[in-house]
């Protein structure tokens, strides 16, 4: 069954999009990530114009994050105060990101830049996560307890604030910076940024693991919502029909994913996620390195009425 998307102005197979949403939902349920970093490239692949894919991806993440954060709120594993600080940074970052996105769009380099961002960040995050989880797996086999986190330069900065839920007393500068950075990525890459936010919270801010996912989801809602609005207003590229199809698939998939995730060990899960991230990264990198079959590309200048 084909569905014509009113904003993307392409006709897509509804089951294909539902399936994509479902697949990404399964992964996000399994690993506790939004899945935007997989979804957006997949949307490119099925022929959705990149600008629409990025904006609609952001809208889709709003839904999955709302769903996730409600579950975390019940378990009291959301640091609301830290979330707000991250959001302040995130908003500034999103505005900057949209500006960069629109500037690059006018230069015709937006596709390249988005792909490069993906390759770089997926490569770094996937690589680090893989090394770290392999080490953790080895250590847990040997039976030595994991090393306690050290307090580094992050804790010597000014403007300190107490975050009770996280049990932290740190400067607000690092969280604002992390939020800003991730907000920028959200606007440019159409991702929630959980895959960067989560490691940054654990390793950079030293937050306890149990509040990390909930807090990250909480901040992602606001930033992706702001991004959706900004894309809707400046580019008119949010496709509600596409978003709804992805949502339905994603919501159902996430529930299956959660079940699968509960049967695996945390370290195994992390290795799998790292491999997945590296796989997507390798695919995108190859596209940049190998000679494309079509070296020309078209971008029609739609005259909006």
């Amino acid at each position: 069954m084909n569905i014509y998307l009113p904003i993307a102005e392409v006709s897509v197979n509804a089951f294909l999009v539902l399936g994509l949403g479902g697949m990404v939902g399964v992964l996000s349920g399994m690993f506790g990530v939004g899945g935007g970093f997989l979804l957006t490239p997949l949307l490119f692949f099925i022929g959705i114009p990149p600008a629409v894919a990025v904006a609609t991806g952001a809208n889709q993440i709003v839904a999955s994050s709302v769903s996730g954060v409600l579950a975390h709120l019940r378990r009291r594993s959301v640091d609301l105060k830290m979330g707000v600080v991250l959001q302040v940074g995130g908003m500034i970052g999103a505005v900057l990101g949209i500006a960069i996105f629109n500037y690059l769009k006018s230069l015709g380099q937006v596709d390249l830049f988005v792909t490069l961002c993906y390759v770089v960040f997926l490569g770094i995050v996937g690589g680090l996560m893989f090394i770290e989880s392999v080490n953790a797996l080895r250590k847990s086999r040997r039976g030595t307890p994991p090393k306690r986190k050290q307090r580094g330069w992050v804790h010597s900065l000014p403007f300190k604030m107490r975050f009770r839920t996280s049990g932290l007393y740190i400067s607000i500068l690092p969280p604002v910076a992390v939020g800003l950075f991730v907000g920028m990525l959200t606007a440019i890459m159409g991702v929630g940024g959980g895959f960067i936010m989560v490691p940054a919270m654990i390793y950079l801010l030293g937050m306890p693991t149990k509040v990390v996912v909930g807090t990250s989801l909480f901040q992602i809602i606001t930033v992706t919502a702001a991004t959706t609005m900004m894309h809707a207003i400046t580019n008119q590229t949010v496709d509600i029909v596409l978003a709804v199809l992805l949502l339905v698939g994603g919501v159902v998939g996430a529930q299956f994913g959660t079940r699968i995730g509960m049967r695996l060990k945390a370290e195994q899960l992390r290795i799998l996620l790292a491999l997945l991230v590296l796989l997507v990264c390798a695919k995108l990198a190859l596209d940049l390195l190998l000679e494309p079959s079509e070296i020309y590309s078209l971008s029609p200048v739609r005259v909006t009425k």
């Binding site: 014509y4 809208n59 949010v238 590309s297």
Partner: protein, 268 residues
């Protein structure tokens, strides 16, 4: 097929009537150059893009109305073109730079139809001369207008535009696709893809003899989004903040709904 045949019969009688009627009274109305004129029918002159729009086939049929006997100099040929809304297109080329493939050069094509189909009753070269093509802009190459591109090899870019759109089925030249009977009745079926842009699709019929256009006729096929598609598209263009909010509300509600639903399922 049956519809076609009955249409065919209908048109045949219509045409015969025309020929009879036109012998005397209307002779002064048509110029000598247009001794042969087109009477056109379309299976539908509107294409509605609905949510499950999956492309459309338009039947274009017609008859040649003439006051004089069929000329014997050269056989009559028919060309049918349908052109989507014209828009500027930026064509970019990638080159390897520092090991990766990057858009390095671009040419702006001033005006290119989003969709363009040409159907002819014989091989294209046989039905139309180059000079006539230049005048009426019939072939795909001529339908694209690119002036003032200073870059060397700008031709490569417009070639690329044509090649890419032909591969995707947006541009097509269908030779021998127009059926012509007795130099009077013609018909062709035109396939429109699912990924249509809305707007006015200019439809032109050319009658040619010995490669010269002897008559042309123009009409418009309206392609519009309807229903929900229309509503959402208009909303996104006219009320972007409202549209953005709607998108967010839908997202938040479905997220909340999903969480509540699965909580309920878990509890029960």
């Amino acid at each position: 097929m049956r519809i076609l045949r009955s249409l065919h019969a209908l048109l045949a009688s219509l045409c015969a009537a025309c020929v009879l009627v036109l012998v005397a009274p209307f002779a002064s109305v048509t110029s000598p150059a247009q001794a042969e004129e087109v009477v056109l029918g379309l299976s539908h002159d509107r294409v509605a893009i609905t949510a499950n729009f999956d492309g459309s086939e338009i039947l274009i049929f017609g008859a040649v109305k003439r006051e004089t006997p069929i000329p014997t100099t050269a056989p009559l040929e028919v060309i049918v073109t349908v052109s989507g809304p014209k828009e500027p297109v930026i064509v970019r080329r990638k080159d390897r730079s520092m090991g990766i493939w990057v858009n390095t050069a671009s040419v702006s094509v001033d005006s290119a139809p989003s969709f363009y189909a040409v159907a002819t009753s014989a091989p294209f070269g046989a039905v139309l001369r180059d000079t006539e093509d230049l005048r009426h802009k019939i072939s795909i190459r001529r339908a694209i207008r690119s002036v003032g591109s200073t870059l060397q090899g700008a031709q490569d870019f417009s070639n690329a535009l044509m090649r890419i759109r032909e591969e995707k089925g947006f541009y097509s030249l269908q030779e021998n696709a127009v059926t012509l009977d007795e130099q009077t009745l013609f018909r062709t079926a035109l396939q429109m893809p699912a990924d249509l842009i809305e707007g006015e699709y200019e439809t032109r019929i050319f009658l040619t003899r010995a490669g010269r256009v002897v008559s042309r006729y123009e009409t418009v096929i309206q392609v519009n989004k309807v229903g929900l598609e229309r509503f959402l598209y208009n909303l996104s263009q006219d009320q972007p903040p409202l549209y953005g909010l709607l998108a967010l509300v839908i997202a938040a509600l479905s997220g909340w709904g999903a969480a509540a639903l699965f909580q309920m399922l878990r509890n029960s």
